[in-house]
């Protein structure tokens, strides 16, 4: 809690400074304060990553003896090798590698389908309103508050009746359903910021629902698609519950193996392998973040500002 109060008291000082062009002197008190706070905050954010990576590079004896914050005395990549290709899940001792392609196979279509549907929803909600459309939207938002665990049972029954229980399509449907509320909210807000004159002009030219969507809306919406992509890749890649409940062992995602590695209760906990597995599993969403972070803020800027 300490760092929070530091941030708030010091930031008010920062705010009283001019908010404008970059000051000429780099080392004025305001800047020292500003960067000082940001660096302290960054320590808070980076500490866990540091601990994860450092621990994953240590051998077990060093992990047990040592200070979790210190860098390894002797660097070993054995925990990474073990986490990737040797850690056992029951009888299958091929580590996370087993689930990697399954995760890709699940994530790619789920992300595409859920984003496609949500973007069309947002577009219809803003530009093709029909009576009750706001009510459906409100229900969707309400749905985003329902804990997944509660909906497990009704969804099992629905998928069974639809005959897609246990298939990849079943899982894609589930991810589409649970991604829909937040994504629709973002797309709806984004499309509302696109000038209505554009839409009206296209209507005058005789363009229809899909024509406007593909020729006007889509080309203008790269930032919000990036936001949706990031949110969905993260959510679906990290999902454990749906992946394990709605599929079979042949297509279990990587998180199932991660769960098996970190949750095995008996024996000595191999913290270094746990941490390596954790970083490996988080790698795909992390890369997506690092690559598209800039677009993310731009997309959010457009998608969340105007309601």
């Amino acid at each position: 809690m300490a760092d929070v109060s530091v941030v708030s008291s010091a930031s008010s000082a920062a705010m009283t400074g001019p908010r404008g062009a970059k000051p000429k002197r780099a080392m004025n008190p305001r800047n020292i304060m500003l960067y000082g706070i940001l660096i302290v905050v960054c320590v808070y954010y980076l500490l866990p990553l540091w601990v994860m990576v450092m621990t994953s590079l240590k051998g077990m004896p060093e992990v047990r003896l040592g200070n979790i914050f210190s860098p390894p005395v002797e660097i070993t990549f054995q925990p990474w090798v073990k986490a990737w290709s040797e850690a056992c899940t029951g009888l299958n001792c091929d580590g996370l590698s087993r689930g990697f392609w399954n995760s890709v196979m699940i994530t790619v279509p789920s992300v595409i389908v859920s984003i496609a549907i949500a973007s069309v929803n947002g577009y219809a909600l803003i530009n093709w309103k029909f009576k009750g459309s706001d009510i459906f939207f409100t229900i969707l938002i309400f749905g985003s508050f329902i804990p997944y665990q509660i909906m497990l049972y009704p969804i099992v029954i629905l998928l069974r009746e639809a005959g897609i229980y246990g298939t990849l399509w079943g899982l894609i449907v589930v991810h589409t359903i649970f991604g829909m509320p937040i994504l629709t909210l973002l797309f709806r807000n984004y499309f509302s910021s696109i000038p209505e004159e554009l839409f009206k002009a296209a209507r005058v030219d005789g363009a229809g629902f899909w024509g406007i969507y593909f020729r006007i809306m889509l080309p203008m919406s790269l930032p919000i698609f990036v936001v949706a992509l990031i949110l969905q890749v993260t959510g679906i890649w990290n999902d454990f519950l749906f992946g394990v409940v709605f599929t079979k062992p042949d297509i279990y995602p990587m998180t199932v193996q991660l769960n098996n590695i970190v949750n095995s209760v008996q024996g000595v906990k191999e913290y270094n392998v746990n941490m390596a597995a954790t970083v490996l599993t988080g790698l795909v969403p992390l890369i997506v973040y690092f690559v598209s972070g800039k677009l993310f803020v731009r997309g959010i800027a457009a998608g969340a500002v105007k309601g």
Partner: protein
């Protein structure tokens, strides 16, 4: 031997198509020792010409069971699945989702060989048998660190009362008398072990088998709650989560003892500790040497595929067969479900368990006599009771109320 031949014969007689049939088997055995035990089952099944497709889910029954139940009710069941003996799968059986194994049981004479018979009773619904028991685990054990007592110059306690009497000396030496993990089921397990040790067998049976609520609310059980209230003082200051972290406190001589099931001996073995010299195990807390016969069983969901059904029955027969029982239970550290096999390779603590089992000093497990709902409520109650200052009388009253929801 004779039986395994019979199994083979049966296998051949039903498996005329002879092509390898794949069966997906789900379970929550994922630790090193557990996986080695499952490997024995898989090896035997594969050797008989079928294919075991492993569907392990880590995180214990609490994580795995929702997944298994969802898949069975979702209409995409696995070939076979682990449950604990007792009422966990009862409704799935009643809903007609499980395969009837009565013919397998009769062909392999399960009624005669499965010991204790209560295991088979737990598999029986309306006179038909729906599961194949594979092992027995008993929770009523007290594990002690010999070194803690040697350092204090005290004899190692031989029962719970001596253990309690020695506790102040342990505390004074700066050690923890009783290690107890934070997870709810561990508090419930400790209380369960004390029930039979303190209240005695008659009171235990009256409450848990005959469901006599007057006895449950009576003085015998008030004594149990007082004993538990005293025991929780001994456990003050044990800040660990998992049961094996608590066991580790005993192994590293930071704590004098722990109440935990027979699976704790695996931890001592891994740490190269020897029963009798490094640690001591007291079944029934050394007071009443009774153990309850919980454990695991396999159920076989209906698949509507004659080939798979034949394979399921082959697997069921195999799980109970003597060879598989020996190989599996030695690795698992659990007791076999039949009395007619030789387990001379077992270690000392396991042998103590086998003796008690052979002597017939056994009672059904909590999973058999109470519904999961009652068990869960008691877990919630017990963790609160053991980890706070809740008065014994309040906990007692709440406990009786919990039992009544299961009548």
């Amino acid at each position: 031997m004779k039986l395994s031949k019979m199994t083979a014969l049966l296998a051949m007689s039903v498996a005329m198509p002879a092509a390898a049939t794949e069966l997906e088997v789900t379970h929550w055995w994922t630790s090193g020792g557990e996986a080695a035990a499952v490997a024995e089952l898989a090896k035997a099944f594969d050797a008989s010409g079928d294919k075991w497709v492993d569907g392990a889910i880590a995180g214990g029954g609490g994580t795995a069971r929702p997944i298994m139940i969802s898949r069975i009710t979702g209409g995409d069941p696995m070939g076979a699945t682990q449950f604990n003996h007792g009422q966990q799968a009862l409704e799935l059986v009643e809903a007609g989702l499980m395969l009837d194994l009565t013919d397998v049981a009769e062909a392999n004479n399960w009624k005669e060989v499965v010991y204790p018979p209560s295991l088979l009773d737990a598999c029986t619904v309306d006179g038909k048998i729906f599961c194949a028991p594979v092992n027995i685990h008993s929770p009523e054990w007290l594990w002690l660190s010999n070194k803690v007592y040697e350092d204090l110059g005290l004899p190692v306690p031989t029962n719970w009362d001596e253990f309690v009497a020695s506790a102040p000396a342990v505390r004074d030496a700066g050690k923890l008398p009783l290690a107890l993990g934070d997870q709810p089921w561990q508090s419930n397990l400790a209380f369960g072990a004390m029930q039979i040790a303190v209240a005695g067998l008659d009171a235990w049976k009256a409450v848990n088998v005959d469901k006599n609520m007057d006895v449950a609310a009576g003085p015998e059980y008030a004594k149990v709650f007082e004993a538990a209230a005293a025991a929780r003082e001994l456990a003050k200051g044990s800040a660990v989560q998992d049961w094996n972290q608590a066991t580790n406190l005993v192994i590293t001589d930071q704590a004098a003892g722990q109440i935990m099931g027979d699976w704790a001996q695996g931890e001592f073995q891994v740490a190269n500790e020897v029963a009798g010299t490094d640690y001591t195990c007291l079944p029934g807390l050394g007071l009443n040497e009774y153990i309850s016969t919980g454990g695991d069983a396999f159920y076989f969901p209906k698949l509507n595929d004659p080939d798979k059904e034949a394979a399921q029955k082959r697997l069921a027969a195999q799980l109970v067969s003597p060879d598989v029982q020996v190989a599996f239970n030695l690795k698992k550290g659990s007791l076999p479900i039949r009395g007619d096999i030789d387990l001379s390779a077992a270690n000392d603590c396991m042998k103590k368990g086998l003796e008690i089992l052979a002597g017939g000093n056994i009672v059904p497990s909590g999973d058999m006599v109470w519904s999961p709902d009652v068990q869960k409520q008691n877990e919630d109650l017990m963790v609160e009771f053991w980890k706070s200052d809740m008065p014994a009388a309040d906990a007692h009253a709440k406990w009786v109320a919990n039992l009544k929801t299961g009548l």
